[in-house]
């Protein structure tokens, strides 16, 4: 469902991502971990169509993101690491805005917006301007907006930042449920316990290069760490990489 082929991003002063190759299957939850400045957010932003790769290709559901970005983006639900929103809109208006952008049928949009606002405990805040929301509320609203058009692929950068424990559990359950419905989830995170618990496969990136990928057991083999937890595997891979 997601394919990255020799994906490279060169900021001239920094080579953020260096010939990255990845393949994520439909219905799979893929965790993307790495130290600060490893190239995770750059990769995710390229996959979301927010920044242009220097070279290489991104394919979403068989559609080349560079050749037909509009069609590819229709399949994606994107959640960035920081919840920047249109502060002067209300939560409901923002969801309606997203529904219009993604051409969700008006009736479906209204029904889904209500469902999602209730699900993310934002229903009572739906008519308040986003400016008055807390960080966590904004993060929940962005996740709700990403789910509004029933995407085939979810691309999420640090999904749990700013969320309270209840919301963390809720988002984790939603992502698992989405995977069961054959939605592909690509998630970047620093919370290794989350990655271990949630992801079918994990990719470790450092200095723009993919060091290893696979299940926790496969990563253990690659790092020669026996039956260690993801934290040890991660530290070993990054240190040696």
């Amino acid at each position: 469902m997601i394919e990255l082929h020799d994906l490279t991003k060169d900021y001239k002063t920094t080579l953020a991502v260096d010939r990255l190759n990845l393949h994520v299957r439909a219905g799979e939850i893929y965790g993307f971990i790495g130290p600060n400045g490893a190239g995770k957010t750059t990769t995710i932003r390229m996959m979301g169509g927010i920044i242009e790769p220097t070279s290489g290709a991104i394919s979403i559901g068989g559609i080349d993101l560079r050749k037909d970005p509009v069609a590819a983006k229709k399949m994606i639900g994107f959640v960035p690491d920081r919840p920047f929103l249109y502060e002067k809109l209300t939560g409901s208006e923002f969801l309606r805005f997203i529904a219009d952008l993604y051409a969700v049928a008006p009736r479906t949009a209204a029904r889904r917006a209500e469902e999602l606002l209730r699900q993310f405990a934002l229903w009572n805040w739906g008519n308040e301007i986003i400016e008055s929301y807390s960080h966590g509320m904004k993060q929940r609203l962005i996740i709700a907006a990403a789910l509004l058009h029933d995407p085939k692929v979810m691309i999420i950068d640090e999904p749990m930042v700013g969320l309270d424990p209840e919301a963390v559990r809720q988002v984790r359950d939603i992502l698992k449920e989405l995977a069961k419905q054959n939605v592909t989830v690509f998630v970047s995170t620093h919370t290794l316990s989350l990655a271990e618990d949630l992801c079918d496969r994990i990719g470790v990136i450092s200095k723009g290069t993919l060091l290893a990928e696979g299940t926790v057991a496969e990563l253990n083999r690659a790092a020669k760490t026996g039956n260690a937890g993801l934290e040890d595997v991660f530290l070993t891979l990054v240190r040696e990489g």
């Binding site: 970005p69 229709k74 249109y86 002067k88 208006e93 805005f97 219009d100 008519n127």
Partner: protein
């Protein structure tokens, strides 16, 4: 200045120094310098010529020169008051870094003064820069010694500081009195006040009377009116007197007025210091509570923007509705909207009081010359409005621009939606201005058609230039995107826009003049003259078409590559 205030000012100073050192900004600095120099020299030459002319008029010239100075000081003071209030509100209560600053182990008083200094500088530097050629021209024409320049610079500084002192007092009290979450409402109140103030000041000055001595019963009355003292309690009166008296070498009285202005400023400092200790933190704390809307959204009263925009495609409507809602809910935009309304009223009123019937030149000729110049003037006004509202349109997306980038909407579509959103209201506004002013002037039908068509072509060109350059030089991280109007891209837009308007007006001026004179005298045209007309108008049209598509394409290309 104590150490804490100095330390609090450091980030700003370091930021400015870093910006100055950066190699990338070299060309930009050069452009700014060039524009500033051209503006400065232009202002000096205009003032020098006007004052030299006044000087040549025996007895009466000096009175006129001082009247002009007094009018300018009053205008400067009004502008300073308003910009200081806006800056104080932003620096003291709304800036993003305030949460960090207030968490530091420094006193509220120190924070207040550090922010006050920043605000006073931001609101005053432009007035100081503009007043320098004025001071120089007065000194030059009236052959003043170095004492005059020192006194005048001191007086202008006092004027700026007094305005900053009064403004911060108003903001301190306003923020303490307004209910929590309503601090931005101050912007709206200020907008209405400023609009009224502007109309009032311009009507108090009554500039048209300067060219109409007939309206006075006798020459004595006219001279008396010109010499009439301004209100003695107004700081602008003291400032004008500092300059007036030092020009005449009356140093004692000039010094007295300067001391009056300085003591007023010192008293304001004392008041600010006292009130800041009592009210600043309380007001800041209230400003941190959830912002509340001034008016309930229209949607809940059965009307919504979706309905009138129903003819648009869904993504286009989504962006359009979002844009309109965000714009009207941002109370910082409102004062400027009120200001524009006030300026339009003054603009049209001035046409109605033009003393065309008292000139020795043929009235019909003059009416039509004015009408043609009015096209250029209206387009310049439009450029200024576009620089303030349209150029920052892409930057106002701010950090939320990722939503558009991630959405299944082409950036090209996004930019064209922005274009139409601003082009339509601005076209209506410009055409109303042109038609109304032409009706007030009573121009011929030819001039009416020429001006309506020219504006119809110029408005889309100016708006596209603003949207395109705004996309080419966006600033998504700015705390106040409206300020991007004074950035490199903003200045470039103004230069290109003025250039475009000037070219179109120059291309049309010749043919329009020929046609107009031929209609008066009843002459016909040769084949070559007609060809010249066609080529001139066609080239003007082509320029406008090019100005619509080229900047939009450049902006799109840049956003795609970001």
């Amino acid at each position: 200045m104590n150490n804490a205030v100095w330390t609090l000012l450091q980030p700003r100073l370091i930021d400015a120094a870093n910006g100055f050192r950066s190699r990338a900004s070299g060309i930009r600095r050069l452009l700014f310098l060039l524009v500033g120099l051209v503006f400065w020299i232009g202002a000096f030459l205009i003032f020098y010529r006007v004052l030299a002319y006044f000087e040549s008029v025996q007895d009466f010239g000096d009175i006129l020169a001082i009247k002009l100075l007094s009018m300018m000081m009053l205008t400067f003071f009004t502008l300073l008051l308003f910009s200081s209030i806006i800056n104080s509100l932003s620096h003291l209560y709304l800036s993003r870094d305030l949460s960090l600053v207030h968490s530091l182990p420094v006193s509220v008083r120190d924070i207040f003064w550090a922010r006050w200094l920043g605000s006073a500088f931001d609101s005053s530097w432009m007035v100081i820069a503009f007043s320098l050629p004025v001071i120089l021209s007065y000194g030059w024409v009236f052959q003043a010694g170095p004492g005059f320049y020192l006194a005048a610079v001191g007086a202008v500084l006092c004027l700026c500081l007094i305005a900053a002192g009064i403004s911060s007092l108003i903001v301190l009290c306003g923020a303490a009195l307004l209910p929590a979450g309503k601090i931005r409402t101050l912007f709206v109140i200020l907008g209405v006040l400023l609009a009224l103030l502007l109309v009032l000041v311009l009507r108090l000055i009554r500039p048209e009377q300067l060219v109409n001595p007939d309206s006075f019963a006798s020459a004595v009355l006219y001279l008396n009116s010109m010499q009439a003292l301004d209100r003695p309690w107004l700081p602008t009166t003291w400032i004008t007197d500092v300059m007036r008296l030092s020009l005449k070498g009356k140093w004692g009285l000039s010094g007295f007025n300067l001391a009056l202005a300085a003591s007023c400023f010192l008293f304001l400092l004392f008041l600010n210091d006292t009130l800041a200790r009592l009210l600043y933190f309380r007001g800041f704390s209230r400003s941190q509570t959830t912002a509340k809307r001034l008016f309930a959204p229209l949607m809940y009263r059965g009307i919504s923007w979706e309905f009138p925009l129903g003819f648009l495609s869904r993504p286009a409507r989504a962006v359009a509705v979002k844009e309109i809602r965000s714009f009207f809910r941002d109370s910082t935009q409102w004062p400027q909207l009120f200001l524009i309304c006030a300026l339009i009223v003054v603009y049209l009123y001035n046409f109605s009081v033009l003393p065309l019937d008292r000139t020795p030149i043929s009235s019909v000729y003059l009416q039509n010359v004015f009408s043609f110049l009015n096209v250029g003037l209206a387009a310049f006004v439009l450029s200024a409005i576009a620089a303030r509202f349209v150029f920052p349109a892409v930057s106002t997306e701010g950090e939320a621009f990722w939503i558009i980038q991630a959405a299944p909407v082409a950036l090209k579509t996004f930019l064209w939606i922005k274009f139409f959103l601003y082009a339509i209201p601005l076209l209506i506004l410009s055409e109303i201005l042109i038609v109304a002013s032409n009706l007030l002037l009573g121009v011929t039908s030819l001039m009416m058609i020429v001006s309506v068509v020219t504006i119809f072509c110029l408005v889309p060109a100016i708006v596209a230039l603003a949207v395109g350059l705004g996309a080419r030089f966006p600033d998504f991280k700015s705390e106040n995107p409206a300020l991007s109007a004074t950035s490199f891209g903003g200045v470039l837009f103004m230069l290109l826009s003025f250039g475009l308007i000037a070219l179109v007006i120059i291309l049309e001026a010749g043919p329009v003049y020929k046609i107009f004179m031929a209609r008066i005298s009843g002459h016909g045209f040769s084949f070559w003259t007609i060809l010249w007309f066609i080529l001139s108008f066609a080239f003007a049209l082509l320029l406008c078409v090019f100005a619509v598509f080229f900047p939009m394409k450049a902006g799109e290309k840049h956003l795609l590559a970001k």
